[in-house]
């Protein structure tokens, strides 16, 4: 059950988990094991959430660390849940942009802080 890997990820701005804030729910994750495919749909707390890309990055990193390398992961915001939906989705699924972001130490620190509770 993939939900257990991501439910305890801490929201970057509030001291609650993504599940507690209903950013992630059980039906947020679609898995096709045969085709090694996962899609996660998350709902930012507010429409103009500036942390949407950080949350998406946390999800991607956590899944990358938890799943076998053959898995393809798509992350998106729930349709209609964000003012810049297309723009956020595009960034989150551009592998090169994600790779460069993860070389930014400030961003990595932020991500690690969000992931810390979910490692227990």
């Amino acid at each position: 059950m993939l939900l257990q890997h991501i439910r305890d990820i801490k929201d970057p701005e509030h001291p609650y988990s993504l599940e507690e804030l209903k950013v992630i729910t059980e039906d947020a994750i679609e898995v096709d094991d045969k085709r090694s495919y996962v899609r996660v749909t998350f709902t930012p707390t507010v429409e103009h959430c500036s942390m949407a890309t950080v949350i998406g990055l946390c999800l991607r990193i956590k899944l990358m660390r938890s799943l076998p390398p053959r898995y393809k992961v798509d992350i998106r915001v729930a349709p209609g849940s964000h003012a810049s939906e297309a723009s956020v989705n595009k960034q989150l699924n551009d592998k090169e942009r994600v790779a460069a972001a993860l070389e930014n130490p400030n961003l990595v620190d932020m991500v690690d802080e969000c992931l810390a509770p979910s490692l227990l």
Partner: protein, 357 residues
């Protein structure tokens, strides 16, 4: 699992090159020296911040790592390109610099560092004569550098126009025009006004004129330079053509026109595309597969069309970031992957099989 579409072809795995400790982003075959007996050389660059030089042993035919270019770039090395003479290798990095390495008989030293981009540099390309270099990056700009004596490089133009991250730049094989492709979904053509160092955008190919509907990751010209192929996150490959005679005559700019769109063949982002000297287009994608396309001679009523002739699923264990046909052997291909490996392949017509006409 049936891989082939057309049973007249075979893709044989010749060797797997291991050594990089992170994903391999890009590959570049050293240009053919034009004399016999010189071994094939391949450069690769990686998220491990190094560039590796692989050389084929004349005795065994195996590729071995001859050099590791390290301690220079401080972040991912994203792209590499040999100068036409083969004497220099340019490497572009997320550290915002482009390094120029001189190959002194297998010993590489960094002889220049090009700075200027505000953040990640994503691609570097030499023009056909080796007199100009182009770079591009996330700062949305394209830079043109002039190659001067004594390993000096001077920026002659900073081109603005793309509204997002520029993924790749490629010089045309015979005319001094530069093409860039971007996260803004467009392809731009840049040319010089006379000989004035006044470079500007002479054409934009986007959704309004049959262009892509998502990030364009790569482009490649055919051998004669009258066609180019582009690949995208929109899951299509597009073929474009121009009036090369008019282009080469210098009689004003000859625009690129859309010829064909290949859709329905890929179900994940296509990261790399390369057109061989023999007219075979090879694609590398995020579904771990390598595909081969060629012009179909079947029906010329509406103009040229293209068909898939071979598909190799699970060519690598993870995304394929680069495919490159060899500069020396027509049927040899290299591929690079997120799995940290490079594979050398041989793409041949299966002997003894009946050719369909």
């Amino acid at each position: 699992m049936k891989n082939s579409v057309d049973e007249n072809f075979e893709l044989n795995e010749v060797q797997t090159l291991e050594g990089h400790t992170d994903r391999v982003w890009s590959l570049a075959w050293k240009p053919a020296p034009g004399i016999d007996g010189v071994p094939a050389v391949l450069a690769s660059c990686s998220g491990d911040r190094t560039v590796r030089i692989w050389e084929q042993s004349p005795a065994t035919g195996c590729f071995q790592c001859k050099a590791v270019l390290e301690d220079t770039h401080t972040r991912t090395v994203r792209s590499c390109a040999w100068s036409p003479s083969g004497k220099f290798l340019a490497t572009s990095s997320f550290d915002a610099t482009t390094a120029i390495w001189e190959d002194a008989g297998g010993d590489f030293s960094c002889v220049a560092t090009l700075e200027g981009h505000e953040n990640e540099v994503k691609s570097v390309s030499w023009n056909a004569s080796g007199s100009l270099l182009a770079t591009c990056g996330r700062d949305k700009s394209v830079w043109i550098w002039e190659v001067l004596p004594h390993n000096e490089f001077e920026c002659v133009s900073v081109l603005q126009g793309h509204t997002q991250d520029v993924k790749m730049v490629q010089w045309h094989p015979s005319v001094n025009i530069l093409i860039s492709c971007s996260y803004d979904n467009s392809i731009k053509v840049w040319a010089e006004d006379g000989d004035s160092d006044d470079w500007h955008c002479v054409q934009t190919l986007n959704q309004s004129n049959s262009g892509h509907t998502s990030t364009v990751w790569a482009l490649s010209f055919n051998a004669s330079g009258d066609k180019m192929v582009t690949c995208s996150d929109d899951l299509t490959i597009k073929i474009w053509g121009c009036d090369i005679i008019r282009m080469q005559s210098g009689d004003g700019y000859a625009p690129w026109m859309h010829i064909s769109t290949l859709s329905g063949y890929h179900d994940r982002t296509i990261f790399s595309i390369h057109w061989s000297r023999e007219g075979i287009i090879c694609s590398g994608a995020a579904d771990d597969a390598i595909r081969f396309f060629t012009e179909s001679k079947d029906d010329l009523v509406d103009g040229p069309s293209y068909k898939l002739i071979y598909k190799k699923e699970k060519a690598h264990e993870m995304d394929i970031n680069a495919v490159q046909w060899s500069s020396m052997e027509n049927n040899r291909l290299a591929s690079a992957s997120d799995d940290g490996t490079i594979k050398i392949w041989e793409f041949i017509s299966a002997p003894g099989k009946k050719m369909h006409l």
